[in-house]
Symmetry: C2
Subunit: 342 residues, 2 copies
DNA sequence: AGCACGAATGAAACCGTTTTAATTCCAGGT
DNA sequence: ACCTGGAATTAAAACGGTTTCATTCGTGCT
């Protein structure tokens, strides 16, 4: 079944392709009678212009690439949804590229997206979020960004000057810490992620800073390193409970970890928040689905997405736009935390 | 910054574009010396062939469209992940199209995907899952499927002969019902979704059938209709608890509803599963994240995805493939259910 | 009748590849 | 020295649109 082309329409209407193109994009006046004749044929043959041919010539595809480490992690669909919502009506379509955080895949997708002539790229997570990033990726991304508008979400590539939008995670962690202290907590543990990720490092730094500002010490054994998963949360909470002295509050690097922590705490017979306050980070949907609902620091993921798209769109339109957009975190107090009454 | 084309490479190497094309795709022998000369120039200029031009000619894009109602619903990322995993290495890229289940958006995306000449389409959820689907959509999808390989996931369009892969939801509901009965439950409530969706209708039918087969009655007030959300689960459980007699078990149309139900049950002072058994459907990640962990009927979402891609791929390759692929559900017994001891 | 002018249309170039058919090159056989 | 045949290469067409520039058409004015 051969595709119907603009030539078929033109010849059947007894006009030139230029005229058909004109009624298609109404880019120039066409006599009413010929216009309607052409329109009728278009309907009749269900003619659809071939976007490849158009894009080849116009040098724009109306397509943008979104690179995520793991679409299965609820964080990313939320951001994607923000992007989508913002882009709606502007006529863009999205390539979703799932990298599993592997350098090879990230690099490969960058390559593919360039070949497919996307108008822009939104790059999140994965390698972009390491304190020490592989120089190959840095170069690869920088090179891509030199050719195609590109924005980084919640990440950074040291040594480059890329556009990015990010939550102020340090501030979020500071807010949470401050909140815990105001609630009377003095002995607070922090369940971190891999120390090689900026996310985790930033938050830890902020946590320690606020503690120190309040003349509170952070002994080594009060910082535990996991890998952002629920299992890590379970395991590390187990470790915390095994220690001779139990902290009154635990701050977690993300919600998954916090949920894991709550699970083992409850299994160990504790009542949350009565026996222990647990605070997460991100506010993924899960946070408000569990019982007790999680007190957490909300990253406005939809904002992250919509801002990222806005920045990208300006880049595409060659408008001026600032390099860094920061999204403010918000403390969301729910049921997993309470004031410490001695 | 103009794009480097195959012409630039060719002229600089002093050969014709055909030769460059040949080393690119090694589609014909090229003398070693010229090959290496060309390769060097390609590296040097970082030349990347323009996929649009290639696709225009070859009539294949290596791109497939995935249409989902809501990427924020964890069900769909899981399926997507299955698709992605299966497709990995086969060199496909995916357009992710988020429709919010609106007919207009679905139709629009179908249009766009055709224009962009995708090699195939995987269509899930939304309107496809209604017992009475709008005839416009039916026609639109059928027409698209006539031109482009297309597979439906967990849905159907009555009156059409489309390829589809789906979980046997009726069987799943039957399994769950049977399990509850075997555990000694006699008074079982069912929290449904909108009665207009096939998902909900199928399950309800199976539930009633199995109950009847066991000589159990399903009074009208034991079937409550919601809209698949957690809030619906909360509200309907509230209604259940307000009734004079309380069922010993509640079967829910999906996990969200079940989690909502558990939440209000716990808030009302019940202990789950001691005071009431609650069973979900789907086994989204949330199901094993909450406390108590949810007993549920697992839809193998990764299977759904990978099978859908396999079918699609065969369609694209013009291989023969059967119209319907069914994925078996599995009962996953966790903590929210227990045997009824009188 | 002749002219000017804007509106409508057409011819052809162009976008960046792949591929077919034709051509050149070159070594080996006579 | 000439022919042959396969290997390497090229020229040009094709893919399906958009756009520039030129041309035709029709109308109102002198």
């Amino acid at each position: 079944m051969k595709q119907v082309t603009i030539y078929d329409i033109a010849s059947e209407a007894g006009v030139s392709v230029a005229t058909v193109s004109r009624v298609l994009n109404n880019t120039a006046p066409v006599k009413a009678s010929t216009r309607s004749k052409i329109m009728k044929l278009i309907k009749q043959h269900q003619f659809q212009p071939n976007a490849l041919a158009r894009s080849l010539l116009k040098k724009e595809t109306g397509t943008i690439g979104v690179i995520v480490p793991d679409i299965t992690n609820p964080f990313f669909p939320e951001v994607f949804s923000g992007i989508d919502h913002e882009a709606r009506g502007k006529g863009f379509t999205f390539f979703l590229c799932n990298t599993h955080g592997e350098y090879e895949r990230e690099s490969q997708y960058l390559h593919i997206l360039r070949e497919k002539q996307v108008d822009g790229i939104i790059f999140m997570g994965g390698r972009i979020n390491l304190t020490k990033c592989t120089p190959e990726l840095v170069e690869e991304v920088a090179e891509t960004a030199a050719r195609i508008p590109l924005v980084l979400v919640n990440g950074n590539l040291p040594g480059t000057e890329l556009h990015r939008v990010a939550t102020d995670e340090g501030k979020g962690a500071a807010m949470a810490t401050q909140y815990l202290i105001e609630q009377g907590h003095r002995d607070i543990a922090y369940i971190a992620g891999m120390s090689t990720t900026t996310t985790s490092a930033q938050k830890l730094r902020a946590f320690k800073r606020v503690m120190n500002q309040n003349n509170l010490d952070v002994p080594k054994e009060r910082v535990l390193y996991g890998d952002f998963t629920m299992e890590a949360g379970e395991r590390l909470m187990d470790e915390i409970l095994r220690a001779p002295e139990r902290p009154t509050a635990v701050l977690c690097v993300n919600d998954f970890t916090a949920v894991g922590a709550i699970k083992t705490a409850i299994k160990a017979g504790l009542s949350i928040p009565n026996d222990m306050t647990i605070v997460g980070f991100d506010d993924i949907p899960l946070a408000s689905s569990i019982f007790p609902e999680l007190t957490t620091v909300k990253q406005q993921m939809d904002q992250l997405g919509s801002q990222a798209f806005q920045v990208l769109h300006k880049l595409i339109m060659k408008e001026k736009v600032k390099r860094l957009t920061v999204i403010e975190p918000e403390l969301v107090v729910r049921e997993s935390s309470r004031e410490l009454t001695p």
